[in-house]
Symmetry: C2
Subunit: 346 residues, 2 copies
């Protein structure tokens, strides 16, 4: 558009640099700020998007819980993924980390690398993102936008009272092991997409809902922590075996899991037993909570779970003997070739 520079030069005073809004900032302004909706004061947001830093005012005597997740196209989601679902999922996985710590969500930053600034994509993505953000009253307070391979990095902030955090290292001998919701449907959807097995269209649709739009168990995690009912927790992102393994390693204890007690997702439930076992115990992408709690808390936990509307299931026991033992409903030890999900595995 070189032909435009000559006329434009005559339109503005000599020596005056036009402070044009730059397209990157337009972009951010248009899709990620909502002028009519200032950040809720309850989130402690003293200053949101638009300066060098955001400012949060922590509640007195509260700790801040912080987690960061990076999602990469082709690794964590398919190329061409629905931007609305992607906006939901990238915040959901971060909310899930806060839930696993028992922290109440307050605010988050979003760093976004995009191959190009597509209005349709940005509209869908921001709609999915803000729908979940609003549901959890968590404010977008800042971030970064750049051109590059599609990559989404959210850092999230929550609050909790000192001593209340559900740490991985907190499991105690004799604790029950609990799982929220159901497991394995996200892995089943992946198997369907990959052609590892053939799924009926209805089953694939059902399972893929879990894969694309996980439900972070925020209320369950926060209330378990605030009521002091659980000793340890983690969210199941890499598969139950691997994630429970982190609790066992951090707590220097072992466990037995009853594979037949593991709650399979509705789509997975109608699959053959071997597949059901494999995908519930090592599926990944579930974003359910795995937590441990004393036997005496069983009734209170079931009551709390009913109150927040999230089913929970007892699936095993924390034991002194190191390692993780898998048994069937009769208590018989099972031999399974199972492994967690590792981003750098071959």
């Amino acid at each position: 558009m070189g032909g435009q520079s000559q006329p434009r030069r005559t339109l503005r005073p000599l020596g005056t640099v036009q402070l044009a809004m730059l397209s990157e900032f337009d972009l951010i302004k248009q899709y990620f700020t909502r002028p009519g909706r200032p950040a809720a004061a309850s989130s402690g947001v003293a200053l949101g998007i638009g300066d060098d830093c955001a400012l949060l005012t922590p509640k007195p005597d509260m700790q801040m819980a912080i987690s960061s997740d990076m999602l990469v196209e082709g690794r964590h989601f398919f190329a061409g993924a629905d931007p609305l679902l992607l906006g939901h999922k990238c915040l959901a996985v971060n909310l899930s980390d806060l839930a696993a710590m028992g922290a109440r969500p307050r605010a988050f930053t979003l760093a976004l690398s995009l191959p190009s600034a597509e209005p349709d994509w940005l509209a869908g993505f921001s709609t999915g993102l803000f729908a979940l953000a609003d549901a959890h009253q968590v404010a977008l307070i800042g971030g970064d936008t750049t051109k590059g391979p599609l990559t989404i990095c959210i850092t999230i902030f929550g609050e909790l009272a000192p001593g209340c955090a559900l740490r991985r290292a907190g499991a105690q001998l004799g604790d029950d092991i609990w799982i929220s919701g159901t497991l394995g449907d996200a892995r089943l959807a992946l198997a369907g997409y990959r052609g590892e097995l053939t799924l009926a269209a209805e089953a694939l649709a059902q399972a893929s809902g879990r894969m694309h739009a996980p439900t972070p168990r925020v209320a369950l995690g926060v209330e378990l922590a605030e009521a002091g009912l659980a000793h340890a927790a983690i969210d199941i992102s890499d598969g139950l075996v691997g994630d429970l393994g982190h609790i066992l390693a951090a707590s220097k204890l072992g466990a037995t899991l009853n594979l037949d007690a593991l709650p399979a997702g509705p789509a997975l439930a109608s699959q053959p037993p071997a597949l059901r076992r494999q995908f519930t115990v090592a599926g990944g992408d579930d974003y359910e909570l795995c937590f441990t709690a004393p036997v005496g808390a069983r009734a209170a936990i079931l009551d709390l779970a009913g109150r927040v509307g999230t089913p929970v299931t007892r699936v095993g026991q924390i034991e002194h003997e190191p390692g993780l033992r898998l048994v069937d409903q009769t208590g018989r030890l099972l031999d399974l070739q199972l492994a967690g999900f590792d981003h750098f595995a071959a």
Copy 2:
């Protein structure tokens, strides 16, 4: 390695899943945790790397300043960039955001997408990162590692007293405009790499040091804020014109800049005047501070700058008339085709 699974199966008890350390976690552990160096209590880090969230204990009555930057290979740095310098730079640009707000650095998270886990690269990157982190006593408290295009996202946390933040919207009529350090050498290095001009090897080496290893002006920003000497500040990442433009827009004021007063970097200083003007006023990647302060604070600012060892230069004035006017040392208005740097510009 399918042949190994048969013998291994006989080595562990039936039904026991081996909780092998996964390579991703090995990677993080090896390069990004330093067992001998627990996070300083002064950083308020109650829990660092290794759980679902990190935990920070904010100092009483302090606000938390938060900033997030994403650096993408091929966009913010060249493919094959020295990992040690990259480790420095990705933290430096975030420290620079805290400096521009006047916040004292406390902690940061690192999300890293890597095409492969190369020990040499990780060793260099973490060395550069931790050298700068240690210099500013800022603790790495968590993050994420995944496989993908080389992308680095750091979110940084600092603290400051309520009301002390150096906001973009704080400039006042009649304020001096100040610049820390020197401008334009990073842009000169870029011009050399791109072949836009031919530089002597010595000049290129000198300029590229500024491009690859910027110095965040943390002490200057923090002390300006704590002493209440400055009204507004921003760090110069996209070029002075564009970044000062953000202060003017947020403060609803204009300014006149004396182009001949702009402090050019040592390599740029020996270039022709036209180039010197262009690269100082709109170079980008400088990571110097641009701040505004009342005329009465001049002596105190020069004193403070001397104390923290960062030179500062007065380069203009905040005025009522909107827009940015560029003048030479005689006060004559200049006409320049200048623009800020926009990631989504063609």
